[in-house]
């Protein structure tokens, strides 16, 4: 108890001394100091707010075996090295595209995330969706028809995800492996996907209140689904990870993440 009282006395003495000191300073300097402090805090807050809306994350998603990892390394290093196997973990990297190294000047790097496509690792995609600025959905144009249903379900899940709908994240439907002769064209793939998503819309909308698998429904009621009905932009492009034909993908990404 005595200690506490001693401490209190000392604290009072110090505050008195501080106040006296403050009163000695000319008022102008005091106001200037306080003003500067406020200004810097306001500036910092505003910078953080502004920066948050401009995320530079791009997600590479798609079914297992569609070529995401190869595409990732093509964009980063310009070659797919010695090949790839089924990914068990995401590949992340913040870099400038390999083909842009030649350009002069400071180019903003892109944070590219290659999310594994295996269905058991699907929850990983949900971790990255909140920070995504754009999504590239890679589809295997060679083995398209056997996987059409699974691919369309995955795309449907992405398009109806709450984050994607609210932030209107643009999606690129990238048809990979177009260097092969028997690969389908992007128009064919686009039409097939629209048809499949239409069927999904019919079956998924008829769910009981207990199990809402999807957060939102897409498309316009009564009309056949088309990608133009989505509130976020969905475009189609072709690419080939093996030979390094990734121009369209790069253009898409640069459209949303200005260099």
């Amino acid at each position: 108890m005595e200690n506490l009282e001693d401490l209190k006395l000392m604290a009072e003495q110090w505050t008195n001394q501080g106040l006296e000191y403050l009163q000695k300073i000319p008022p102008f300097q005091l106001y200037a100091a306080i003003g500067l402090l406020l200004l810097t805090t306001v500036l910092l807050l505003s910078f953080r707010l502004v920066r948050r809306t401009k995320s530079n994350t791009v997600l590479l998603s798609g079914l297992s075996g569609s070529g995401k990892t190869v595409l990732f390394y093509q964009l980063r290093d310009g070659s797919s090295h010695q090949g790839s196997v089924t990914s068990m973990e995401p590949n992340e990297g913040t870099f400038v595209f390999h083909f842009e190294h030649a350009k002069k000047g400071k180019i903003k790097p892109v944070h590219l995330v290659d999310v594994p496509g295996h269905s058991r690792l699907r929850p990983k995609l949900e971790e990255f969706l909140p920070q995504a600025a754009a999504i590239v959905f890679v589809v295997d144009a060679l083995e398209f028809l056997p996987n059409c249903r699974a691919a369309s379900e995955y795309l449907y899940d992405i398009l109806t995800n709450a984050n994607v709908v609210k932030k209107k994240i643009p999606v690129l439907l990238c048809c990979n492996k177009t260097d092969k002769l028997t690969a389908h064209t992007k128009e064919f793939i686009k039409k097939q996907m629209e048809k499949e998503i239409e069927k999904l819309r019919a079956s998924r909308s008829a769910v009981s209140t207990a199990d809402i698998a999807n957060d939102y429904t897409i498309g316009i009621e009564g009309e056949v689904f088309s990608f133009s009905h989505c509130c976020n932009r969905v475009t189609v492009a072709e690419a080939s990870g093996l030979i390094g034909e990734t121009v369209q993908v790069q253009d898409f990404i640069r459209e949303y993440i200005k260099p």
């Binding site: 297992s64 075996g65 990892t69 390394y73 290093d77 090295h81 010695q82 090949g83 790839s84 196997v85 089924t86 990914s87 068990m88 973990e89 995401p90 590949n91 290659d114 594994p116 295996h118 269905s119 058991r120 690792l121 699907r122 929850p123 249903r149 699974a150 379900e153 069927k199 999904l200 019919a202 079956s203 998924r204 008829a206 769910v207 009981s208 207990a210 199990d211």
Partner: protein
Amino acid sequence: MLEQLLIFTRGGLILWTCKELGKALKGSPIDTLIRSCLLEERSGEVSFNYEAYTLKWTFHNDLGLVFVAVYQRILHLLYVDDLLSMVKESFSEIYDPKRMSYDDFDETFRQLRMEAEARGEELRKVKQVGKVVSSVKKQGQVSKSGLDGGNKSGGGGSKKDVGDGDKDKDKVGSFMTNGNHKMEDDDSDKTNGKENTADNVVLDPSKLMKLRSKGVRGRGGVRKTDSIGNKSSKVAAAEPPKKATKKNRVWDDAAPKQVKLDFTDSVGENGNGNHDHVDIAAADQGESMMDKEEVFSSDDESEDDDDEARSDEKKPEAKKKGWFSSVFQSITGKANLERTDLEPALKALKERLMTKNVAEEIAEKLCESVEASLEGKKLASFTRISSTVQGAMEDALIRILTPRRSIDIMRDVHAAKEQRRPYVVVFVGVNGVGKSTNLAKVAYWLQQHKVSVMMAACDTFRSGAVEQLRTHARRLQIPIFEKGYEKDPAVVAKEAIQEATRNGSDVVLVDTAGRMQDNEPLMRALSKLINLNKPDLVLFVGEALVGNDAVDQLSKFNQKLSDLSNSGTTRLIDGILLTKFDTIDDKVGAALSMVYISGAPVMFVGCGQSYTDLKKLNVKAIVKTLLK
């Protein structure tokens, strides 16, 4: 010979493959390994078989690398494990996340491979001697009691000389040729139990070793039956069980255990019958055993001493890492996780899982898999080992319970509708799990989504089953196809499907009789039903109250379905319907056991006894309950 050795990152990029063994692999063994083993939380297993290849792997969890070796299945290469660990060590020294090509590693790898092959050769030779030694010693002990001089066969004579001398490979060689001669005599005896226990001693027996051990062991078994009384059998019984516990895990679970039991039985039986065979063989082998006894027994003792010394060395090392260092490490987080660190946390987790009604072997396998994925990883700072282990286990559980394929039944129904055929679902399971009740619930749910359903009463065995379904059908106002009792269920189902095609029903729900997984004729009838009708979905109905039996039920069902299927495509269990979920409060482990052992997703969960009590499995909630 090694077919291929790959090093790749967990993110999927191949860092290095051996260019010397440049053979292209048939099929895609690596992808299959990843999809059906590593992502299925079976990374604790020893090896993985894919068509003609066997694959072995190891992880470097800290750097996120996977090392896989592929070799022909018919070869039993002893040096693969060794080679993998050596490659792991040397590669992690030169690994750099920025580097993508490691051509300089070729040279290192070649040397490592030669070293490992040489070591493997040595090991094999040592084991040849060792096995003969241990078997001879056993036989020697047993034969102490009363063996006659016996015949002086050519081999016997040489044995006398051999017994006096030091142990030598030539001795072993001649001894073993003697053994080979004796093989024919022993084949008639029921001494298969012994040869299998011989296999138990050596971890990776080659074929030659197996043949030799057959001869050696056979003699031992024969002599045991010859000798007087229980002492011999006791000694014999004591030794193989001791050696059998060192056996590595075998996934065809039933066989070795039965073998162990057979071993004791055959001793008793042979004592009574086959006397002449026994006598002749014993007489021949008698003196050689007597002679060998002294020499090899001393060696065996020294071997045991070595083992003890080694284990003693390890113990003090483990104790050095005391309490203070572990606390310090948990704060700084620099330690690499070792098996000894992980064991207590994993044991506690395993106990917790078992209290939540997860089958014991599933909990064991899961813990091994988590251990494999955490070993060697660096602890993040300010995290305890137990929280890291918990996090890894949670990830693993979510991965297992997340379905491997989409379980959108409505979509499948629509797809079948387009093809103008009904979507057939067959409900199978053991007695009393709730097939008929949940069939009615599923029918109700489908009806709510404007799908026309038809029931097929293929439970023609249980009294009142058809009436039960008839009542449900009347209440739900859906058509039912029934043929009464004592009819062949497969034929009833076939006719039901034809009827459904005719009157345009979208879905046919087939109810079958409950059957125990061991009941051969009933399982045969079930596979006949499935083969004949080719349903779209085989739904296994299991109750959440089941404990360890879930593993047995599902594995036997799958096994019988695949064994007894005649056509090319084997249909296994496609989905699981978990019933009586409302009766268990938080002992939700049965879901995990069933999904792990069969790989089939849980499509529905029955949580009550009225029509509306059907829901989907909430993966996150189950994982949280399991780890609470």
